[in-house]
């Protein structure tokens, strides 16, 4: 098991985001179409990464509620891109299941029936190679 | 001939900074505590157009591993046009150095304004990294000048 610190670093590395740039304006949360279904809100995501509480993040409902519509990425005035952080957190989960990349056969059992379609498309784009 | 790999390689870097913009930019980097390598030593000149190609060749002759010249952004020269002349001179000189086989990463021109402390520090970081990767200047050093 990796330390929380190294997981936080990995999230930063995967996403290419510097969460310290966040000025807590909340435009991400304001823009988020899945806001109401999330337990940890997009703007809070940034604080969780800063505070290195990745465990809460990967256990959160929000992780799988994000549609990856990237409205927050598009509109963030500080280039913090919470959507990318969420994406990176998801990848951490995937990697920690022992593989960096998903095999096609693994996908069906991983899919939560509640998972939004858009996320699947987004995942396919990411992992197709 | 192979260059001896030396873990302790500390490049000698000479930076010519114009008094009005880049030297002030370096001051701002200092007062903002934006660190960069101690291998960079700054020489103050009134304007980038004061930098004679002879100075640059002399630095290499004396064992400098990299020479960087910083001036006001084109259009912002304190003396109106100095950096425009400097730009042509340095372009031609660097091209000539490249032509005779000196790695072109050893010389650089960057325009840094008095307000760009962060850019100054960043530029120096990049330049030091570049020179470190190129290693010791062996093509231009006059070994007699070593002590």
């Amino acid at each position: 098991m990796k330390t929380e610190h190294s997981r936080a670093e990995m999230i930063k590395e995967i996403s290419g985001v510097n969460p310290l740039k966040c000025m807590k304006c909340g435009k991400c949360s304001a823009s988020c179409p899945s806001y109401n279904e999330m337990d940890i809100k997009p703007h809070q995501f940034v604080s969780y990464v800063i505070n290195e509480d990745i465990e809460s993040l990967v256990k959160s409902k929000s992780l799988w509620k994000c549609l990856s519509c990237f409205a927050c990425v598009e509109r963030c005035p500080r280039d913090v891109k919470p959507g990318k952080l969420i994406d990176a957190a998801r990848q951490i989960v995937v990697r920690e299941r022992g593989k960096n990349y998903l095999l096609a056969d693994d996908i069906p059992e991983l899919i939560d029936p509640d998972t939004p379609q858009q996320l699947l498309v987004s995942a396919l784009r990411r992992y197709r190679r | 001939m192979s260059i001896e790999k030396n873990e302790e390689f500390r490049p000698k870097i000479v930076a010519f900074c114009c008094n009005w913009c880049s030297y002030a930019g370096a001051d701002l980097a200092g007062s903002s505590r934006m660190s960069y390598s101690a291998d960079v030593k700054i020489i103050r000149v009134p304007c980038s157009c004061r930098v004679n190609p002879m100075f640059i060749l002399r630095a290499f002759e004396r064992g400098a591993d990299g020479v960087i010249m910083c001036g006001c952004h084109p259009g912002d020269c304190h003396y109106t046009s100095g950096n425009y002349y400097a730009r042509r001179r340095m372009t031609l000189l660097f091209s000539m150095l490249d032509y005779i086989g000196v790695e072109n990463g050893r010389t650089r021109v960057e325009w840094v304004s008095a307000a760009e402390g962060a850019k100054f520090s960043q530029t120096m970081h990049e330049f030091v990294d570049k020179i470190t990767s190129l290693g010791k200047n062996v093509r231009l050093e006059d070994l007699r000048c070593r002590n």
Binding site: A30, N36, R75 | V14, G30, D76, H78, A115
Partner: protein
């Protein structure tokens, strides 16, 4: 051989904490020419300067090296100290071991090693220093103020009050600037024009102030104390001397479709126009792009109705050339363009407006006669939403990285005024932070919340969606309640970021004044010289230097005036003695140096020289010390090395190179 003293400053712990100053002193004593070296806590202090004085006297020093902060900080201090002790001030060199060393390095060994090298380079340079004597230049006792907003007006008044003539150059047809567009001012809620128009009148009537409106600076040459400026007086098509300002021409003008610049395009104006009723001068201009006479040759109504016969269609641009001792830049600001912020629907809905547009709507002389109404249907809004930080504090390339400073306060003002005048209208402000440093500022903001019931919500708005019913759906989040908010509003007001007037770049280039990445003019020192440009003789007034509210602008305008007056009060200025000189035995007279001299300081003379016994007449370059500013462009152009720069000579710079590469 020089006798050099090396003085190493601790700067408290600023230097001494990272640089082993004792070691620098010890190493200095091994350098050629160094006969004395010591360190002290604060070299720039009286006591420190006393040490220098004593050493010069006792050790008969001929040159000094001070290892301290940047020469841009204390070079003058130490030069003066040297001069007091009878040493030529140009025999002083500074090794910058603070900004370029102790402040940026952490490792003591590394920093000390670098400090020693910087000291060596300075010693090497002093060894080749020669005493220099500054020349003198005259000061033209007249100031130019570029920009006729409140900053320019205040600066001009203050300079003129001190007894010096001032010219104001204003691009638009009237002085007054942004302040004339404002309705009320925070935190006192005075009417903006009530306090501005008397000042405009005062400027207009002042015997020492000359206003060029509808004019632009065309070119600037010269230097501190002696600038030559060309001003383009654009053809107004109206004779300033004949016009009585009756306004009939504007009434009768048939071309009335041009968007009014003054009202931010919310309504239209005639082709012959004064921007606003209280314009100074109260003389209209003809907008030749809109005028039917200029476009088709027919019309000429204004000329027919003008009783004074002031209309002159044949007027042409006029170039006025004037000399000035000091120039004050007061070019002000504009709102940023919002075309990159589609999510706020600014371009899609007429009811999404900027704060400056709201100012015009709230103003009795504005497009709606002061009634708060929706521009789409003229209805009074019941739900108003204000969005803060639109384009300010942005790290992406859409907006500005800085805080525009005035938006929090004017939004509170707008909210308060609306709640006061229209108590039925709800006002919601979406904010990121509310910033109210300033006298009575926070109290003002609290009043908006506590007394006027303005609803402040922490959280930036994500999107504004125009609805089919004409309403605006505002999607935001309340970060404190952790709730997403959907609010139907009638009007949305965007606190758009402010940016320096786009013309400032051109002006800064003409003045060779430096400008930062945001196009704000750079001050000579962020704390200690905030109203001076690093370029001598150029002063900064108002928002051109950075975001400011009115009181700050006025105080900075006064400060800039004081600095300009300080310069104009001098009869003569000492010129920089670091000028170029040509060695007549080496000069080829080839004229290449004159080609690159930006000041026209180099001329050629046929001079008889004695070159090692050979007498002949040669064409020799001669530098005019009063014109030469010491850039050194000529020195590099000169192939024979005849041209050299005093204080930065070829051999000195080479000595520094050698010392660093040693």
């Amino acid at each position: 051989m020089q006798r050099i003293g090396v003085f190493v400053c601790h700067c408290g712990t600023n230097i001494a904490a990272t640089v082993d100053v004792k070691k620098v002193v010890e190493m200095a004593l091994h350098e050629p020419g160094v006969v004395h070296a010591e360190d002290y806590a604060y070299m720039c202090s009286e006591a420190g300067q006393e040490l220098i004085h004593k050493a010069i006297k006792e050790k008969h020093l001929t040159g000094l090296v001070v290892c301290s902060c940047s020469p841009r900080m204390h070079e003058t201090t130490f030069r003066n100290a040297a001069e007091k002790a009878g040493l030529n001030p140009y025999m002083v060199e500074i090794a910058n071991i603070r900004e370029h060393c102790s402040w940026i390095h952490k490792d003591i060994e590394e920093a000390t090693e670098k400090a020693v090298i910087l000291m060596r380079a300075a010693v090497a340079k002093v060894n080749l220093d020669a005493p220099l004597k500054p020349g003198e230049s005259r000061v033209t006792k007249r100031a130019l103020v570029i920009g006729g907003g409140i900053a320019g007006i205040q600066t001009a008044l203050d300079i003129a009050e001190a007894g010096y003539p001032v010219d104001i150059v204003e691009k638009t047809p009237s002085i007054g600037g942004r302040m004339s567009q404002l309705d009320k001012t925070f935190p006192t809620l005075d009417c903006s024009s009530c306090i501005l128009t008397p000042k405009m009148g005062e400027v207009n009537a002042h015997p020492l102030i000359n206003i060029y409106t509808y004019s632009e600076v065309e070119s600037v040459s010269g230097f501190v104390g002696d600038f030559t400026v060309e001003i383009r007086k654009k053809a107004r098509s109206v004779d300033m001397n004949k016009c009585t300002g009756c306004g009939v021409c504007q009434e009768k003008c048939p071309s009335k479709k041009t968007p009014s610049e003054f009202n931010r395009g919310l309504n239209t104006r005639s082709a012959i126009y004064t921007p606003f009723a209280q314009a100074v001068p109260n003389v209209p201009v003809i907008d030749r792009d809109a005028c039917i006479k200029f476009k088709t040759g027919k019309c000429g109504i204004c000329s027919k109705v003008c009783q004074a016969g002031a209309i002159d269609y044949d007027q042409i641009d006029e170039i006025v050339t004037e000399k000035y001792g000091a120039i004050v830049v007061a070019t002000g600001f504009d709102m940023i363009k919002l075309d990159k912020y589609d999510e706020y629907a600014y371009s899609q809905s007429k009811d999404v407006i900027t704060s400056l547009e709201l100012e015009r709507i709230m103003n009795a002389a504005g497009p709606t006669g002061g009634h708060l109404e929706r521009l789409s249907d003229g209805k009074a809004p019941k739900e108003m939403v204000f969005i803060q930080c639109v384009g300010s504090r942005c790290a992406d390339n859409r907006g500005k990285s800085y805080c525009s400073k005035i938006c929090c306060m004017y939004t509170a003002k707008h909210a308060m005024l609306i709640r006061d005048k229209y108590p039925d209208t709800n006002v919601t402000v979406f904010y990121i932070d509310v910033r109210t440093p300033g006298k009575n500022f926070d109290e003002f903001y609290r009043r908006a919340v506590e007394d006027y019931g303005v609803n402040y919500i922490k959280g930036q708005v994500g999107k504004v969606i125009p609805q089919p019913n004409g309403k605006l759906l505002v999607q935001g989040a309340d970060l404190l309640d952790n709730k997403q908010i959907l609010k139907e509003a009638d009007m949305v007001v965007l606190a758009a970021a402010i940016e320096p007037n786009p013309d400032v770049r051109k002006i800064a280039t003409m003045l060779t004044a430096s400008i930062d990445t945001n196009n704000f003019l750079t001050e000579a020192h962020a704390k200690l010289r905030p109203v001076e440009s690093p370029t001598a003789g150029i002063f900064l007034s108002g928002v051109c230097q950075g975001p400011k509210d009115i009181p700050e602008t006025v105080s900075q305008a006064g400060a800039a005036a004081v600095k300009a007056i300080g310069l104009l009060a001098k009869d003569k200025l000492l010129t920089n003695p670091c000028t170029a000189h040509s060695d007549e035995l080496l000069c080829n007279g080839c004229s290449q140096c004159a080609n690159v001299c930006p000041y026209g300081a180099i001329t050629y003379e046929d001079k008889e020289v004695n070159d090692h016994g050979v007498r002949e007449t040669r064409r020799i370059a001669v530098v005019n010390d009063a014109l030469c500013q010491g850039c050194g462009a000529c020195t590099v152009t000169c192939p024979s090395g005849a041209m050299d720069l005093q204080g930065f000579s070829n051999r000195q710079i080479l000595a520094e190179v050698d010392a660093i590469c040693r």
